[in-house]
Symmetry: C2
Subunit: 516 residues, 2 copies
């Protein structure tokens, strides 16, 4: 109690210094998006503040709330700024685990809700697969199909990222089995055995995935997720092949040959695994990969690696599923991160969710289920999310937000490289594409401290892997936001060097990053 | 073309006769909910009509649309009536696969959307597990916790039914492993092996399920789903135990002893399977069961069966997971169907979705994950659905809709029993609880014909199993709607006897029910 009061007192004294808009900000950062975005962070308490802590206790009575960072006032949150229940306003570079496309409370989305003709879409959620609304196909055309990846004209919507990948797997298994079967005659034995989970009806197919990948947390997805033990411990899984993902050395220009060798080693292992698993009668029907491994630590590989991987999939008759749940929707400067590979035939299936508001997957014609109800569930997504997405895509196009991501991302990456040069003991392996940037810290503890300090200075950051900090701002994150962040973070790093326990750099005891 | 024109012509002539509100309706059915519900079906074309068929073609270019029944005008749909894009207004006894709780366009829900303070909830979807809105705990209390099943004070929200069951399985596996481990020391071997899908980190645990069950379509759920081949064919699965579910003989009062024996046989098999699987080192961590098997054919078992099954779970240390995705939210006359069992400790975990607007599961304290991020995903449901649900529950309480379900269900069931007595060659095994009613037809073809004819007469019905018709009306389905339906259906059955191909009883060629 006393400690907590002292902390609060101490932080209140600090709060005057923490109004960064006035003290550290460069000229570029002073720009204001008048009627929408705020002009800078504004801190009133430590975070989580007293109101957040009170609410955490309440929520703790209902469910494990140890992952909660703080409670938010979404009504007051705008643009790139997240406002908490203690009145703190923070520049949000994490955007709800990369799931807010065009900022909080975007006027265009608010307007949609205010139009009487849209109300029905929010209260009458249909079973889309059997009783779609009149404008369903039209809305898919103006939203998802207007940004369909090259060569993938078919799309199925789902409610979340995990369901998107689960159903993409299923579409791949159906496709593979049809190919293998070579005809439409399904045997009685297949029909009967599948009901009781046995072959031949349930064939022993597998998806090949990569170490460090994250593709979701339901049982099928989880069998392809290999990022952190806490996601997988104590959950039964499937014996599916797992290939190594390249571990690139930075700066890339200094390790060209080593990195090429590393990528070649991983690709060789992919082929070996496909062959090895086929020998034990477990068929690799598809390969799933993220264009940038996100949850697993922002692990990049070269465009050349992915081009070769795509060729391997084709060579061995495996479907190539690109998981763009986190990399999709423009943050890398292209709408889909796989566009950077420059391929005519980049993928067979592409899954999405998060910033796309709705989950789902695009696929080639040949992956279209050959009968109704094979890829199906009650809701199959939610037309209200399709409505929001259509507007989001209009805003992305109207405001040229892909180019903005490239531009703002360059400002951010340049600044990070500069900080890396100045603080090499704290920052390494700076990397990124568009605003999808990250860097490594020396260890888990330092990473978590930096995130906590930044938060108390008015910047929300996210961690990934075991020591990385990832940037996942909205698409309306501009150069001036990058400069604003860089000024604040530069100051944090300057002070971090001399940091001693017991100073005013108080750190909440709550461990909010992933454990185990 | 000519045939189609003749059909249209014929149907237009019929349409005058098809205005049921005036011709066949009993006094009770004439009641009108003035400002919300319509007063009866109104048919203008066959269903699907020309506009629906045009839209089907459009959608077919984007995805397999063979499951689509027709396209809807949700703006014009109200209460128990679904309006299609050809202006046909149908009494809806299927309610989007049982997922519309208080009817279409309910004024209370529309009002919610119109309140400016709620707009933010619909446009700023948070990552609930890390950055919940201020009112999150409060909203859970006024919605989900206000209807929490006995003894289950903890709740976690999810986006859909499959994710609810997948995560309920995971919570059960964590619980079982903690129990088995007996301490908190996790070994290095466990941490390392789980990342690559291997034991001991990924133990060989299983969920026991029942033949005929439906628990979802993602890979984990699908391993416990055994209703139809089309759901499972060509998808790899897990070797998890599957027990027989009682196949009761009707009328129940004539087969008391046979049905008791049948239930005893199934329960014995459950115990045998648990023991048998343990012997081969596959541990049954939990049992999942629907209070009434829905998708699988509306298969009921006695309350006594479930009480004994619950005891078996307890005896063998297995978690008891009751899947109330379809049976929950009041349609059986109790908020949860398992309340009919009259147990003090009915379940360890209860999953929900559909009419609850949000997915999720309730559980006992002991099933609470022991660390953050173990049961987690980006969205963990959607606060906008919690907002709608809170209002739905208020309406259910205010309008006493549980008693209404009992009352209207009785009217429906009584009428169905009467029809069964009159048309025993067409209707058998009439059964139900609340409005959750169903009956069998002689075969798949007859069932599908009856559904098609009913639809063209202004009534939307759903099928389940291989020959059943199930009733899944909204909770505002009243006695007079039951009478309205019974009058229409009675007429259909009377005509069905003498039915010849080529008469005006035209049936769309489109097969909309499940195939294979």
């Amino acid at each position: 109690m006393l400690l907590s009061r002292q902390l609060t007192c101490c932080l209140q004294q600090n709060s005057r210094l923490l109004v960064f808009g006035h003290r550290y900000i460069s000229q570029a950062a002073a720009k204001i998006d008048v009627d929408f975005d705020y002009d800078g962070p504004l801190m009133k308490t430590e975070v989580p503040g007293p109101r957040s802590r009170e609410l955490m206790k309440q929520l703790s009575g209902i469910q494990n709330a140890d992952a909660v960072h703080f409670f938010c006032n979404y009504e007051e949150s705008r643009g790139n700024y997240l406002v908490d229940v203690d009145g703190n306003r923070m520049l949000d570079l994490y955007s709800q685990i990369s799931s807010i496309p065009i900022g909080y409370s975007h006027p265009s989305l608010i307007k949609l809700l205010q139009q009487p003709q849209n109300l029905s879409t929010f209260v009458n959620r249909p079973a889309l697969g059997i009783l779609p609304p009149e404008n369903f196909a039209e809305r898919l055309k103006e939203s998802l199909l207007s940004v369909a990846p090259k060569g993938l004209p078919q799309v199925i919507t789902m409610a979340c990222g995990s369901c998107s990948n689960e159903n993409a797997f299923k579409a791949i298994f159906l496709w593979y089995r049809n190919k293998e079967r070579g005809h439409n005659n399904i045997t009685k034995e297949e029909l009967e055995s599948c009901i009781i989970n046995q072959p031949p009806g349930c064939p022993d197919y597998a998806m090949l995935s990569f170490m460090g990948s994250f593709h979701g947390r339901t049982l099928g997805c989880l069998a392809t997720t290999h990022s952190k033990a806490i996601h997988k411990l104590d959950i039964p899984s499937l014996d599916w092949p797992i290939a190594p993902f390249p571990r690139l050395k930075y700066p890339l220009e200094d390790f060209v040959k080593e990195n090429q060798q590393e990528e070649a080693r991983c690709l060789e292992e992919v082929e070996d695994l496909i062959v090895k698993y086929r020998k034990k009668k477990k068929i690799v029907a598809g390969i799933i990969v993220e264009p940038i491994q996100s949850e697993g630590g922002d692990n990049h590989a070269s465009d050349d690696f992915f081009r070769k991987l795509r060729d391997i999939a084709r060579k061995h008759g495996c479907a190539f599923l690109v998981d763009e749940v986190q990399t999709g929707c423009g943050c890398t400067g292209k709408f889909w991160a796989h566009e950077h590979w420059g391929l005519d035939d980049p993928a067979d299936v592409v899954s999405f969710s998060k910033k796309m508001m709705t989950g789902g997957f695009f696929h080639k014609e040949e992956f279209r289920p050959n009968a109704p109800y094979r890829i199906f569930n009650t809701w199959l997504g939610d037309p209200s999310k399709n409505l929001l997405l259509a507007e989001v895509i209009k805003v992305i196009k109207r405001e040229d937000l892909l180019n903005n991501a490239t531009h703002a991302g360059k400002a951010l990456l340049t600044g990070l490289l500069d900080l890396q040069a100045r603080y090499p003991h704290l920052i390494s392996r700076v990397r990124g594409r568009g605003t999808f940037c990250s860097f490594d810290t020396p260890n888990d503890a330092t990473r978590n401290k930096l995130i906590t300090i930044a938060r108390n200075k008015g910047v929300v950051l996210g961690g990934c892997g075991d020591r990385s900090i990832r940037f996942r701002p909205t698409l309306i994150f501009k150069d001036h936001h990058a400069h604003l962040f860089l000024n604040i973070f530069s100051d944090i790093l300057a002070n971090f060097k001399n940091r001693n326990p017991g100073t005013s750099w108080s750190e909440p005891e709550q461990v909010f990053e992933q454990r185990l």
